[in-house]
């Protein structure tokens, strides 16, 4: 049993791939991972995917991706939980390596969201929320976020400009990234003049459906050293849940699952939040980004927007976030989203982040969540070599 480490990554651009099926996208990412990083021996494949079943397309996706790659002498598992599908896959892959049962595993996710009509996509994305009262009354994920945005903005006296700070930062970061879906910079004027999704949110406040696949290879540190592979350590992780109904929580804008997952992960890593140099959060909307940042405790609740505007979270700031644009600008292929976050953090630790490179980083944090912080996952990475 050793420390789990990430030794390689493979990924596609995020976009709309009309001519490629889900296997071809997966194949491209996995080929990059296996060729570039020389990952040959694999004991297990973990695949996250949110919508393939809902699209009536394919169940048991991990088995079919293993078949595509000719990987048969392995254990396969398919995970499905919206934007955290690959977070769950990675969480379990790490346990598999820690258990000593697997020396080398491949884990990630794939999503081909653009294959369906917009109304089908909107509904599918919203079905991670409890369907009894969300899907049933025609409430969508984005509109749920919008309602909580109103509560939050009222409570902390924030205006539309505060809400815009995060998408502007994310598009700034994605504008230099090669694999991101949206590479245009945006301004406050563009945001407020854009079509409304659900007031106060416009299309620039919400992630768009994206296609993509991202996988990482995790081994024990011992295995990586024996094979002469560079790596980033996984130092800690934690997970927690809270009531699915935001109106049952003490406050709908407090992301309790995130903050409890954070406590566990930091404790396991033996770190404090002040030691973290870079953060990738999973925020399908601008508002959820603010709530996540609030719950990470880097500032006081309600001040995340101000901290963004003050440059605290910029690429050259104290703690850069979503350095390739996050779900909003890098794109949000649901079942692959957390895997992309891992890819991006790996590139940063390895000084392979190109124009988006953050300097002098030692420890990083990855956040992912199911729905509106129903279940959250935090990972602490660092000590790259």
């Amino acid at each position: 049993m050793g420390i789990p480490v990430i030794v390689g990554v493979g990924y596609t651009k995020v976009g709309e791939f009309w001519y490629k099926d889900i296997y071809q996208i997966s194949y491209e990412a996995l080929k990059m991972l296996m060729n570039d990083y020389g990952v040959a021996d694999v004991d297990a494949l973990y695949v996250g995917n949110a919508l393939s079943s809902y699209y009536d397309r394919q169940l048991a996706l991990a088995s079919h991706i293993a078949d595509t790659m000719g990987l048969y002498d392995i254990s396969v598992s398919t995970f499905s939980s919206g934007g955290a599908s690959s977070a769950q896959a990675i969480y379990n892959a790490i346990l598999g390596v820690i258990s000593g049962q697997f020396e080398s595993v491949i884990v990630g996710g794939v999503e081909k969201m653009s294959e369906e009509l917009p109304s089908k996509i909107v509904r599918g994305v919203s079905l991670v929320e409890k369907s009894f009262f969300i899907d049933y009354i025609g409430l969508t994920s984005f509109s749920l976020h919008a309602l909580v945005a109103k509560i939050y903005m009222d409570r902390f006296k924030l205006d539309r400009e505060d809400l815009s700070a995060l998408p502007i930062l994310e598009h700034e970061n994605s504008s230099r990234s090669k694999h991101s879906q949206f590479r245009n910079k945006i301004t406050y004027e563009m945001i407020i003049n854009a079509p409304l999704v659900s007031e106060p949110l416009t299309i620039f406040d919400v992630s768009a459906p994206g296609d993509g696949a991202a996988f990482i290879a995790i081994t024990s540190e011992e295995y990586a050293m024996e094979n002469g592979l560079d790596y980033v350590k996984i130092l800690g992780m934690g997970s927690a849940s809270q009531p699915a109904n935001p109106l049952e929580r003490p406050s709908p804008y407090i992301f309790e699952a995130t903050s409890r997952a954070l406590d566990k992960a930091l404790r396991q890593a033996g770190k404090t939040i002040e030691e973290i140099d870079l953060i990738e959060i999973y925020n399908p909307t601008s508002i959820s980004g603010l709530l996540i940042l609030d719950s990470l405790g880097l500032g006081r609740r309600g001040e995340s927007a101000k901290m963004i505007r003050d440059g605290f979270f910029s690429l050259d700031g104290r703690v850069p976030i979503n350095t390739f644009g996050g779900a909003k600008a890098r794109g949000d292929p649901k079942g692959a989203s957390t895997a992309y976050q891992f890819v991006e953090v790996f590139l940063q630790h390895m000084n392979m982040a190109g124009d988006n490179q953050v300097s002098d980083m030692k420890y990083s944090l990855i956040h992912s969540m199911v729905g509106f912080d129903i279940s959250s996952y935090i990972f602490i990475l660092g000590d790259a070599r």
Binding site: S119, K120, V122, R123, I137, G138, S143, L144, I151, E199
Partner: protein, 128 residues
């Protein structure tokens, strides 16, 4: 949601029947099988059918089943006993925070082209 699930939930939904913890008094809607706060048993609890709008928003990216007509409004409604729920608004031109609303039974959606019609509560302004 499936037709059968919709059918199972129909009474709770038509009557706005929630649940209340026998021990700590926590009220939930939708009803729960077990109190999420103290773990105790829950009993049926009749929610009031009137309340006021706390916040509202418009749904413009329409989800499947709700995409036959145009955009609509959804609100957080504080019922007269203080319980907060999500509600689909109807018979309202332009919602406002603070206005009083009441539950009314309406058609929500159908399964397929000629499938079963699903009814449920929407909230309309109270006309005094």
């Amino acid at each position: 949601m499936t037709e059968i699930s919709d059918w199972i939930y129909r009474i709770s939904r038509y009557r706005l029947l929630g649940s209340r913890c026998v021990k700590c008094g926590e009220v939930t809607y939708p009803p729960r099988l077990k109190c999420f706060k103290c773990g105790s048993e829950m009993i049926d609890y009749q929610l009031p059918r009137r309340g006021k709008i706390i916040h509202y928003t418009s749904v413009k990216n329409l989800p499947e089943r709700y995409n036959r007509f145009g955009a609509y409004y959804i609100a957080i409604i504080e019922l007269d006993d203080g319980t907060r729920i999500f509600g689909l608004l109807t018979d309202i031109e332009k919602p406002e925070v603070g206005i009083r609303v009441e539950a009314c039974l309406r058609k929500l959606y159908t399964y397929g082209e000629e499938g079963k019609i699903i009814y449920g509560l929407k909230f309309r302004p109270v006309i005094d």
